[in-house]
């Protein structure tokens, strides 16, 4: 009896969820459609999700014509550059620190780690202003370094995340490698890192999203339009009331959202694993 009931319920649940999903997805569908719609039709009602005629003017506008003095390609490459350097930096620094906190015993280790962990509570605003002054002192305001330098110091979250993973790797591995005469750096690089691939993959995706979507740091640290990253460029372009074109702004938005979306779909498994791992251990 239950066997005949289950599919009916399952179908009903499926229908409900797909209806809600459609509502969740609608803003995105609208965005894509609007980016391909003629300027005059964007606010038409009922809105056609399949634009007729298709209009690529928005994409041509943002990608080839210069906005703020530069075409969007420049902003796109800036974003790629920051994301790439930031990713390399954060993965390396977090894993190094995580190894230190989990695999080497030295005095004060756990205290330092706890202190570091407790700083996660401090709101960003407390640190925002002094940090700005430090960057100013270092002469890094209006440089890309201001955006990727912090990744070299091992973010608390990433370090914590990897440390938790490293502690699940048995210490015996370290011990036997040490007997073979391997130093910590070699153990780290040749034994632990290969084993930590799933966790590293999760962190890569996390940081990719974070770096690519970062809006607040560029807003505070960047000035020259030639250094702008995609999110900041989009905001400024949409602000400029003299050149604002909805199709163009939406085309820019689609262009900025697409890379993350593709990465997310390709790497969904790791990503969701990552969230659930951190979620439970919080």
């Amino acid at each position: 009896m239950t066997k005949t009931k289950a599919p009916v319920m399952k179908i009903i649940r499926t229908i409900i969820m797909f209806l809600i999903s459609y509502c969740m997805l609608y803003p995105f569908l609208w965005m894509v459609a609007a980016s391909l719609t003629q300027e005059r039709q964007i606010f038409n009602y009922p809105f056609k999700l399949i634009p007729n005629p298709l209009n690529f003017e928005g994409y041509i506008d943002v990608w080839t014509r210069t906005t703020l003095g530069f075409p969007m390609v420049v902003y796109f490459f800036n974003s790629i550059k920051i994301t790439a350097i930031g990713l390399a930096g954060s993965i390396l620094s977090c894993s190094l620190a995580a190894y230190g906190y989990s695999k080497i015993k030295f005095p004060g280790r756990d205290k330092i780690f706890l202190l570091k962990l407790s700083t996660m509570m401090i709101p960003g605003q407390v640190l925002m202003l002094p940090n700005f002054l430090i960057y100013r002192y270092l002469g890094l305001v209006d440089t890309h370094a201001a955006l990727w330098l912090p990744t070299l110091f091992g973010a608390t979250f990433g370090t914590f995340f990897l440390r938790q993973f490293f502690t699940t790797i048995p210490m015996e591995l370290n011990e036997s490698a040490e007997i073979d005469g391997a130093g910590n750096l070699r153990i780290f690089w040749q034994i632990i890192m290969p084993l930590a691939k799933p966790a590293l993959a999760t962190l890569v995706i996390f940081n990719f999203m974070g770096l690519w979507n970062n809006y607040e740091s560029p807003l505070i640290y960047l000035r020259s339009p030639k250094l702008y990253t995609m999110p900041l460029a989009l905001k400024v372009i949409s602000d400029d009331k003299d050149i604002i074109k909805y199709a163009g702004v939406m085309a820019g938005s689609v262009s900025a959202a697409l890379p993350v979306l593709l990465v997310f779909i390709a790497a969904q498994k790791y990503f969701i694993e990552g969230i659930t791992v951190t979620g439970i251990k919080g």
């Binding site: 703020l68 003095g69 490459f77 550059k81 790439a84 700005f132 993959a201 400024v236 602000d239 003299d242």
Partner: protein, 502 residues
């Protein structure tokens, strides 16, 4: 999984490398171009510096100036004219940095604090940071004097807008002169006579009521009026601007706050009633939510009268090309300019609050002389040279108006060609009306702390325009809020004056 991870890693590596190469290319090419121009610089500079007996620029010193500007049109202008500057000063490279959007002032200030290279700043009479002038701009009196440039003769009263504590902090370039735009079609439909120079602000707001169209439920479908300054959410300055037509000053002559003056309250009431009671003007909130644009939405027929720059007349060709202004409306000449209303029947006619925009030299500059030379060229020669592609009402009285008027009939189209536009004689005549007398909040210019007081008042006035506070409460609250700031700053100001007198 492993394969996937390897892919991610290789993508990362490749992108790091690409980024590195890109960065390398950038700096490499810059260096090489620097050296080539340096040699020609020395050769050419000899002749030009001889003509200029005032400021002498070292022709062998290779200099790059950074020009910070909030308007994209400056880029269009400089693209057309920088070659002229470079023939005159081959050793000076100018790098325009355009920061558009609402954050221009914030970004600029933090950059200056950060000690970045900024040499020239585009600055307006209403955006000049008077309270912090010495921390942001470099006084240029010395250079003007050395150069033998009679700026009073060239600019008249307008130059006063850039003087703080008797120091000159900028040179005006063009005027953002006020006017009232109106839609003739709407006036005709309602059988209302077009405004004349006799009208008063009372009549303006009465007319706005008549011109407003509401639907059956009482919701406004077409507004009677709009004030461009509302687009920037600046309430206090909009209010005291209108009161100025009645001779009001935000600060009294002795520098004390002047919020008790009934004219300030009256002007605030005009806007409060129009936006929140009569709904003849869009509220601040509606402007933000709908992203309204003073001119583009006027072209869409969303309001019938608009207080905004009369120099917008020179942008109509561009607006038509970009499609904001339809060819049909433009050919029917439905948009016209009227002088601003006067305060009441006894006040003078044709007063106009004329802002100006110009250039200042940044305090951070390491090359003040080069920066000064650029500012002088940019506010005079460049303005004329670029007049076919960027239309600006000059602040200088000594430029060749005939050439300008002729050149303003051209504009740069989408393909980058300079083409002839529509004949707008009537609008241009209204724009250049010689009877118009410019007014300016002189005490705001005289007492640099005025902007600090204005910002404190603004916190309360904004709440008036959202109906959260009554006008009386806002004025009372503002008075208590600004008193300590006033006392502290006035004391400092008096000390400065005393020090200067010695």
């Amino acid at each position: 999984m492993h394969k996937w991870f390897r892919n991610v890693c290789s993508i990362m590596l490749v992108s790091v490398m690409t980024a590195g190469i890109l960065a390398g290319c950038g700096t490499g090419s810059k260096n090489s171009s620097d050296t080539t121009t340096a040699t020609t610089a020395a050769a050419k500079q000899g002749e030009t510096s001889a003509e200029k007996k005032g400021i002498v620029i070292d022709p062998n010193k290779k200099v790059t100036l950074k020009f910070f500007s909030g308007a994209a049109v400056n880029k269009t202008e400089l693209d057309a004219t920088l070659s002229d500057f470079n023939t005159k000063y081959p050793n000076i490279t100018v790098d325009p940095v355009i920061i558009t959007g609402a954050d221009f002032a914030d970004k600029l200030k933090t950059s200056i604090v950060a000690g970045e290279q900024i040499d020239i700043i585009e600055v307006g009479s209403s955006t000049l940071e008077r309270a912090n002038a010495e921390n942001i701009y470099l006084p240029i009196d010395e250079y003007v004097k050395k150069d033998g440039w009679d700026v009073e003769k060239e600019y008249g009263d307008v130059i006063k807008q850039y003087t703080v504590n008797n120091k000159l902090y900028g040179i005006p370039k063009y005027l953002a002169a006020a006017g009232v735009w109106y839609n003739k079609k709407h006036f005709d439909e309602m059988k209302i006579a077009y405004p004349t120079a006799d009208w008063t602000w009372d009549e303006f707001f009465e007319l706005a009521k008549k011109l407003t169209v509401k639907d059956a439920s009482g919701k406004t479908t077409r507004y009677g009026a709009f004030h461009w300054n509302f687009m920037t959410n600046a309430v206090t300055s909009t209010v005291y601007e209108v009161a100025m037509y009645g001779g009001y000053q935000f600060l009294k002559d002795d520098g004390s706050p002047n919020l008790d003056d009934p004219k300030f309250k009256k002007a605030a009431e005009y806007f409060y009633n129009a936006t929140l009671v009569d709904k003849t003007m869009p509220t601040l909130a509606e402007i933000t939510a709908e992203k309204m644009h003073y001119m583009y939405d006027m072209y869409k027929g969303r309001w019938s009268m608009l207080v905004a720059g009369r120099n917008t007349a020179m942008f109509l060709d561009i607006h038509r090309m970009n499609g904001q202004l339809t060819a049909e409306d433009d050919d029917a000449n439905i948009y016209a300019i009227a002088p601003l209303p006067r305060w009441d029947k006894n006040s003078p006619k044709k007063l106009s609050y004329d802002n100006s925009v110009g250039d200042a030299v940044c305090k951070n500059t390491k090359n003040p002389e080069e920066a000064y030379v650029f500012v002088k060229w940019h506010t005079t020669d460049s303005l004329v040279l670029s007049s076919k592609v960027s239309h600006r009402l000059p602040a200088s009285k000594q430029l060749d108006t005939k050439t300008l008027l002729e050149n303003w009939t051209y504009y740069k189209n989408k393909d980058g060609q300079v083409v002839k536009g529509k004949d707008r004689g009537e609008l241009y005549t209204a724009m250049l009306d010689p009877e118009i007398k410019a007014i300016f909040p002189e005490n705001v210019a005289k007492y640099p702390y005025a902007t600090l007081l204005r910002d404190a008042v603004e916190k309360n006035m904004t709440l008036v325009m959202t109906g959260e506070m009554s006008i009386d409460d806002a004025i009372a609250k503002s008075k208590t809020d600004i008193q300590p700031i006033y006392e502290k700053e006035k004391k400092k100001f008096d000390e400065e004056v005393a020090k200067a007198a010695k």
